[in-house]
């Protein structure tokens, strides 16, 4: 995390004598009977960074989408620069002066960087696009976000997600934006990139631009924003100057309950008692993927994987699970010796995923939408998928059994849904993550591998998921958890493997596990 820079005490001073840029009055929107926004009012001033906070489902995304014309509003009034606006679509919103960078990079992966940056805004000579001019402009835009050395003629998807996110921001700056909306832009950025982004935001703010900033990282809220608006259940809880709102108040506003519940597990468990070995990875590696490494995971232990984006966190998870086969080394899953003393260890190196799952492995992938959920299928079908796959297609789980399992899980993980036959794609991100977790819990795994289990999830669900992980660990399950949030990793992990440049550079245990130690290892 970036160290706390001084919180601005002048937060209100800039906006006090400047006029309102955006004014939203009693905006309402409902989807098929669900009130997503209920008479929300909001004011953003020129030269102000305005945090928009709230749990998932609070209405942040809906508010942004109504603002940018993706959804039509039911009621209410939006004014930009004193003029009432009705954006027809996001292109129109851009023309009006509202630029948006969405949480998931919304660029075209198969097009070049230049093409992405200039789409719909190309300069023409003689009625045809002038690619030379476009290229110059693209380079200029990239320079604004600190990407001077990037080759804009290459295809977008040849660059990492973090770079893509910066390119998306560069694009948002390309039109004459008065209001910039950043919806979770930092989820995939590393510390230095965030710093760069923040300095850019400050620069824009000083130029008089208004910025709406949506994030889950409270540190960042206090680092950069002037004003905070909290939404809950589609309603506006209130707007507060950042400087005068304490963290605990903020969190209670967001979740609607006091912070005491959330602080329970802040003391670090260093005492993982000696348990049975569960998984051993001996010199496991793959060319151009992951440098060979050794790792042992015990039952009843959470092993964290830390490192910057692209350091090999995800690669380690994939190799351990077996979705990518290593080209060297051995992976062995040890049986529960207390239950069946004579059982032989299973070598997983050459086994299929189905066999791995049958022997007790489970894996929640990083990209929930692409690798996790099957959006069209129902919650029930998504949950039983792994168990059913390990059983094979011919041994179908009886419907009554399925309903029981799924019902249990919905209750146990407090998944918010009226109906288990609802398509999973209609749930919020946090609930989708819980469905995937439930999918594996149903199989009673010995070892669960979680890659970024809390990314893009609101604080309440965040906390619940960590609690579930800890419970599972206490029940004797082994967990391998990769996360970019050091704070939370330090909180729950017994051991932390630190990755850097596709190498394992350290394995911290016991009292060595601290944010500082991890940062130090990465930085060295």
């Amino acid at each position: 995390m970036t160290p706390h820079s001084n919180v601005k005490d002048h937060s209100r001073t800039t906006s006090d004598h400047s006029s309102a840029l955006l004014q939203i009055r009693s905006l309402s929107k409902s989807f098929t009977g669900v009130q997503a926004l209920n008479a929300v009012s909001l004011q953003v001033n020129k030269g102000e960074i305005h945090a928009l906070l709230g749990e998932n489902g609070a209405g942040k995304s809906t508010l942004i989408k109504v603002l940018t014309g993706v959804h039509p509003r039911d009621e209410g009034d939006i004014q930009l620069d004193g003029r009432a606006i009705h954006a027809r679509d996001s292109g129109h919103a851009q023309q009006l002066g509202i630029s948006t960078v969405y949480q998931e990079v919304n660029l075209i992966p198969s097009m070049s960087v230049t093409e992405n940056l200039t789409l719909q805004q190309q300069e023409k000579s003689f009625g045809l696009i002038n690619w030379k001019k476009a290229d110059t402009r693209a380079r200029a835009l990239l320079a604004r976000v600190g990407l001077e050395n990037l080759d804009p003629s290459r295809q977008l998807d040849r660059y990492s997600i973090a770079i893509q996110q910066l390119i998306a921001i560069a694009r948002a700056l390309s039109s004459e934006a008065k209001l910039l909306i950043l919806d979770e832009p930092t989820a995939s950025l590393d510390a230095s990139e965030i710093k760069q982004l923040f300095s850019l935001m400050t620069q824009l703010k000083n130029q008089g631009m208004g910025i709406i900033f949506v994030t889950h990282f409270l540190d960042q809220v206090y680092d950069i924003t002037d004003v905070i608006t909290v939404l809950r259940n589609g309603e506006c809880v209130g707007t507060f100057p950042t400087a005068s709102l304490s963290r605990s108040d903020l969190v209670s506003h967001m979740v609607g309950k006091s912070l005491d519940d959330l602080a329970t597990s802040s003391d670090h468990q260093t005492t993982g008692k000696p348990q049975n070995t569960l998984l051993t990875m001996q010199h496991v590696g793959k060319q151009r993927f992951l440098h060979p490494l050794d790792l042992t995971i015990h039952a009843g232990e959470i092993v964290g994987v830390a490192g910057l984006l692209g350091s090999g966190r995800t690669e380690l998870c994939e190799l351990a699970y077996g979705s990518t086969k290593p080209d060297q080394g051995h992976i062995t899953l040890h049986p529960d010796s207390s239950a069946t003393p004579a059982a032989e260890p299973t070598s997983l190196t050459q086994k299929s995923l189905r066999q791995a799952i049958q022997s007790g492995m489970g894996y929640c992938p990083e990209d929930r939408k692409l690798d996790g959920i099957v959006a069209e299928l129902s919650i029930r079908e998504n949950m039983i998928l792994a168990l059913q796959a390990s059983k094979g297609w011919w041994r179908s789980i009886a419907m009554s059994e399925q309903k029981k399992l799924v019902d249990d899980m919905i209750k146990r993980l407090a998944i918010k849904t009226p109906d288990m036959d609802k398509p999973v794609g209609e749930l919020s991100g946090g609930n989708q993550q819980k469905v995937i977790l439930a999918r594996w819990l149903i199989t009673h795994p010995k070892l669960l591998i979680l890659d970024e289990p809390t990314r893009g999830i609101d604080i309440g669900a965040h906390h619940e998921i960590i609690q579930i992980m800890q419970e599972l660990c206490e029940q004797g399950m082994g967990l391998l958890v990769a996360s970019s949030e050091l704070e939370e990793l330090v909180m729950f992990a017994h051991r932390v493997v630190v990755m850097k440049d596709h190498h394992k550079v350290a394995e911290l245990r016991g009292s060595d596990v601290s944010e500082q130690a991890i940062l130090h290892t990465i930085a060295s």
Binding site: F31, T32, G33, S323, S352, L353, R354, A356, I357, Y363, P365, K369, L370, D371, G372, I373, V374, A375, E376, L377, E381, L385, A386, Q388, A389, S390, K391, W393, W394, R395, S396, I397, M399, S400, K403, D407, I410, K411, A414, K416, T417, P418, D419, M420, D421, K422, P423, G425, E426, R439
Partner: protein, 373 residues
């Protein structure tokens, strides 16, 4: 918000499960009604134009009439559409079914004429040829990762060549009591081939719904990466989907050959793939994979066959055939489209809010599935 359900009695469940399931689905997704309504509409309009179209007589111990003809003539398309639905479920498409029909018919005819093998072995060989064709398509799609439309285009082009090679370019006629019976005789008042296809449909639905094959196929079609990560052998599944389609096409080829007692390598099953795809889509499936509706696919087949038979009996000049068929199909598609349903739902909502909500729910869920590809 958590829905706490009363415990379900297992015995009750089993008995009424299928019916309950159907009713529940109809209640939740009125779009499943659309194909039925379209079929009934087409039937009634035809009955108005051609009196006696709905008449069914009992002649020589079996039923006789245009409606029976629709069932009878619809059998090859129904079989092909069944296989096509499964392939489309995996986000694929099989353009080669027409060629497979020609190959299987050619194998049937040539073996019947040139060998004195028992007819069952001949049929097994023909079905086997379909499986081999399916295997070939499946290998190209799942192992070599060639886009399905291109992969199956290859066999679509080459397959008729293979069939002609087998028949040496001639229409090979044959005589076999068993095959003749399959082609044209009746059993319990209905044509035997209708019984065969009915059996095949029931078997497929039972296998798909009672085992988890249906679930796996829909999962693979909707999100192949996620399916692979939970341990579903997507490649094998896709491979078997194409083999199933090949098998269905081969069975269809046997019926078509038995019908005319000859193998017409050039014309058997020509363009049948398009009718089959149309039927699957009329049933509400998306060509982008995911949910498939086997029962409704058969309704889709009946819609198409009713149109064909109705045009033939109506005495319309030949040059109008295609225009009429295309216009009616377009009309059915437009009526079934999400936009129309949404519009209807809105109008309905103003009268009775409750039902309309459900309607919209199903619509938005479908849109969502599409949005997620």
């Amino acid at each position: 918000m958590i829905d706490i359900r009363p415990p379900i009695k297992a015995t009750n469940m089993k008995k009424h499960h299928a019916l309950q399931h159907l009713l529940k689905r109809l209640q939740k997704q009125p779009k499943t009604l659309a194909p039925f309504v379209s079929l009934l509409l087409i039937l009634s309009v035809t009955a108005l134009i051609t009196p006696g179209f709905l008449e069914i007589k009992f002649v020589n111990g079996h039923l006789y009439g245009s409606l029976i003809d629709i069932l009878h003539r619809g059998t090859p398309t129904a079989l092909v559409a069944l296989g096509m639905a499964v392939v489309i479920g995996t986000r694929g498409i099989d353009l080669s079914v027409g060629a497979v029909i020609a190959i299987s018919g050619a194998v049937t005819a040539v073996l019947t004429v040139n060998t004195d093998w028992p007819v069952w072995i001949v049929i097994a060989c023909a079905l086997g040829s379909g499986l081999v064709c399916g295997l070939w398509n499946g290998l190209l799609v799942s192992i070599f990762n060639i886009q399905p439309i291109v992969a199956t285009l290859i066999l679509m082009v080459a397959g008729r060549g293979i069939a002609q090679m087998i028949t040496e370019g001639q229409i090979v006629t044959f005589h076999s009591t068993v095959l003749n019976a399959i082609g044209n005789e009746f059993f319990l008042a209905f044509p035997i081939r209708v019984w065969i296809v009915l059996g095949m449909i029931i078997l497929t639905i039972v296998v798909m719904r009672k085992t988890s094959l249906g679930l796996f196929i829909e999962a693979v079609g909707a999100n192949v990466r996620a399916s692979r990560l939970v341990g579903i052998e997507a490649r094998l599944l896709v491979l078997s989907a194409y083999m199933f389609s090949g098998f269905c096409a081969a069975l269809s080829g046997i019926i078509i050959a038995a019908d005319i007692r000859g193998a017409d390598a050039n014309n058997a099953g020509l363009w049948l793939e398009l009718d089959a795809i149309l039927a699957v889509v009329l049933a509400g499936a998306s060509l982008a994979g995911g949910r498939i509706y086997l029962g409704l696919t058969i309704i889709g087949v009946l819609i198409i066959q009713t149109l064909t038979t109705a045009i033939l009996t109506s005495g319309l000049p030949v040059q109008y055939n295609l225009v009429v068929k295309a216009t009616i199909i377009l009309a059915v598609l437009l009526i079934q489209s999400p936009t129309t349903r949404q519009w209807l739902a809105k109008r309905f909502q103003s009268k009775r809010g409750q039902n309309a909500k459900k309607e919209q729910n199903s619509t938005s869920s479908q849109n969502h599935g599409r949005a997620d590809q």
